[in-house]
Symmetry: none
Subunit: 417 residues, 2 copies
């Protein structure tokens, strides 16, 4: 059961619109055991549409076409499909009733171009569009299927869920595919691969592993294919248990949870509060924490102390230590954490001080050098890290590292390296 997606639209080719439709459809199809072999974006052009369909049917059982069904005259999809399936447009009374109803609700008069949207290819099964005037179309030919849908996500999505997926499942036999994503932070893709090499090599044939890196994070996705859902779930659960023995300290959650969300859940669960004292991260940790709805229950505030006098003034960092050790030092970052812990009266306080770059590096403290400290009921812990040369990446990696460190401390799992 192989599917291909064809998105029609010049706006996608010139980068004016990102093709979120295709990824949404890919996710839905995959979740339903339908493998997407290819996604294509093509222009609003008859020859291109015909060529693409021909090509896709060489390997696909079903083609999902989106776009090119609007009421304006540059849309040629419908006529092209009539040509491909050797049929003609006929007026569809049901479709016209729905168009009239939509216009009545919006208090508009039905124009001629909108009435023309009720002209549909004779050989197709029309698919109901609950959010718009363009009907979808289901064609069958030689045991294969082509579905044409509008490109507006708000119209396409319910059509996929309510009309397309049930019809596909009724017509084709679909296997069980289960996915589990493991979220890791701390080391890059290649180091992670090295650590789990033996585990990866011993994966059963029906299990696939994918590395999905994001800035500062690597996601590991396990996909199990089989006949039996419960058995697939069991295999994945066992594999994750084995994986935890290897990289348990790098896993912060599952299934695309954000690290800032996982930290928030941990703080809520343990009923703890947090504040931050940020130098090099410049408020980014506070921003991540507060981007989560409900964070006011555990996040109290931050002191962003970019200038040294502010570190002294708000956090009580010693002037002498700043002079002697420099702002990027264990002494200062610990004093920042302790100062914030006291000032904000929270259970924990995170502090960061580093050289984000691109300037400000020295031989002893090159760009990327970062100190992170966390003060809590049991005292203060500090770590020194060397990130890269890129300012934005350094800020992000420092923030993620600090958040993960906090999560481990809150959960009593922290062991300084």
């Amino acid at each position: 059961m192989i599917a291909e997606i064809i998105s029609i639209g010049d706006e996608l080719l010139i980068g004016q619109v990102v093709n979120t439709n295709a990824s949404w459809m890919g996710e839905l199809l995959n979740r339903n055991g339908i493998k997407v072999k290819q996604i294509k974006v093509i222009a609003d052009d008859k020859k291109d549409i015909l060529n693409s369909i021909d090509n896709s049917f060489k390997s696909a059982d079903i083609i999902l076409l989106t776009g090119g069904l609007g009421p304006t005259k540059d849309d040629i999809t419908k006529h092209t499909l009539c040509e491909y399936f050797d049929t003609k447009l006929v007026f569809n009374e049901d479709a016209f009733s729905r168009i009239k109803e939509i216009f009545r609700l919006r208090n508009f008069k039905v124009s001629a171009v909108n009435k023309a949207q009720a002209d549909l290819p004779e050989s197709c099964t029309p698919l109901k569009n609950i959010n718009g005037t363009a009907s979808g179309m289901w064609f069958e030919k030689n045991e294969k299927v082509l579905v044409s849908m509008p490109g507006v996500p708000f119209e396409m999505k319910p059509m996929m869920e309510n009309e397309v997926i049930p019809r596909v499942k009724a017509k084709f036999k679909t296997p069980v595919i289960l996915h589990k994503t493991i979220m890791t932070q701390g080391i890059g893709e290649s180091f992670l691969a090295k650590k789990i090499e033996d585990w990866e090599n011993s994966l059963p044939q029906n299990i696939k592993l994918a590395y999905l890196p994001q800035p500062g994070i690597v996601r590991l996705r396990l996909s199990a294919t089989g006949e039996n859902k419960i058995k697939c779930e069991q295999i994945i659960a066992e594999l994750i248990e084995k994986l935890k023995l290897l990289i348990g300290d790098l896993i912060f959650g599952y299934d695309n949870i954000l690290l800032e969300e996982a930290v928030g859940e941990s703080l809520k669960l343990h009923q703890k509060t947090v504040a931050t004292a940020e130098s090099c991260t410049g408020g980014y940790i506070a921003h991540l924490l507060t981007s989560i709805a409900g964070s006011s229950s555990y996040f109290k505030g931050s002191a962003i102390t970019y200038a040294n006098e502010i570190k002294e003034n708000i956090l009580g960092v010693s002037h002498e230590d700043l002079e002697k050790e420099g702002a990027v030092s264990e002494t200062v970052v610990k004093q920042m954490a302790i100062g914030a812990h006291k000032k904000f009266e929270t259970d924990y306080a995170i502090a960061t001080s580093g050289i984000a770059g691109p300037d400000g590096g020295t031989e002893g403290k090159p760009v990327g050098t970062t100190w992170i400290a966390i003060a809590g009921p049991d005292g203060v812990l500090a770590e020194k890290h060397h990130f890269g040369e890129h300012r934005g990446r350094n800020i992000r990696r420092a923030a993620l590292t600090a958040l993960f460190m906090l999560k481990k401390i809150v959960e009593g799992k922290y062991s300084p390296e």
Copy 2:
């Protein structure tokens, strides 16, 4: 000059990652006079890669391939390209030096899988990756070009800009297309369109206008096509002068400058400093300001005062006023700005207090209600805004509105509405 983009990656087909690379590349290519005829997403599969290349070369002069170059073993692109171009992998000393340098900076040892990234097809021209270990590859065959790049946007983007586009322009003839992007903040796309309707309708035939909305920002891109570069520049300059008469107060800069960057330039030019006191924006303004290199010359620090007691404790907000007016009020936001102005001893201080949502709204103060104040040498100004219902959007719009307000005040252009 026709291009096709092929994105390789199972994660794109199953919808785990949205293909933003392809739209970014489409935009860049289009801007450089290169037409993108098709975008394809295919699996990490040798046969699919070979088929796609064969097919794309039927109509394209250049194929841009992304993905499939990571150090982990599920990547097969390099071997497939060797087969297609009938060449073999050879160890590349330059590429290895860059890999070693990246690892040295991160204080890591080069592993065997990373060393293998220096093995490159003999017949290609390697393209420098300034942000990662996978080199790009430029192949030529029968006057056609294939470029293979890593799929990580952070690595692919500079490679496209610095390596690919200049090489394409040197090899192929591309028409003169001039672009000028006008950056606006403050109103949405449809309202903007209404304001500049007459101006838009009077644009000459060789000028195209595109609306490029981003969260909180609308970019207007003018594209002039012609034979004569100087004439194109003149026409665009004249059009912008006319546009300024209509929406001058909404323009914060040109050519994709970030608002936080424009604000930084203004502060530097006028030799002013700034601090922030953030409640609803939770550190996001500080983060935007400090994401700009060199911001330490004008940004001193912030107090993120999520909890009310912190507003009192650090910023000196009156307990009575907090009780009486609530945190989201003109009185409190002004006190926050004045408090930060004093505490951080800066020329200006921005304060925000609002209901970011999704919870916390009331009938009188629904989600999205946001107060912004700026304290400076001439006193304190405050504005009330109603943003939307989405937390992330509210935080972003509040931050952008505050930054633009600061820019106007610093430049003496502020007139409260």
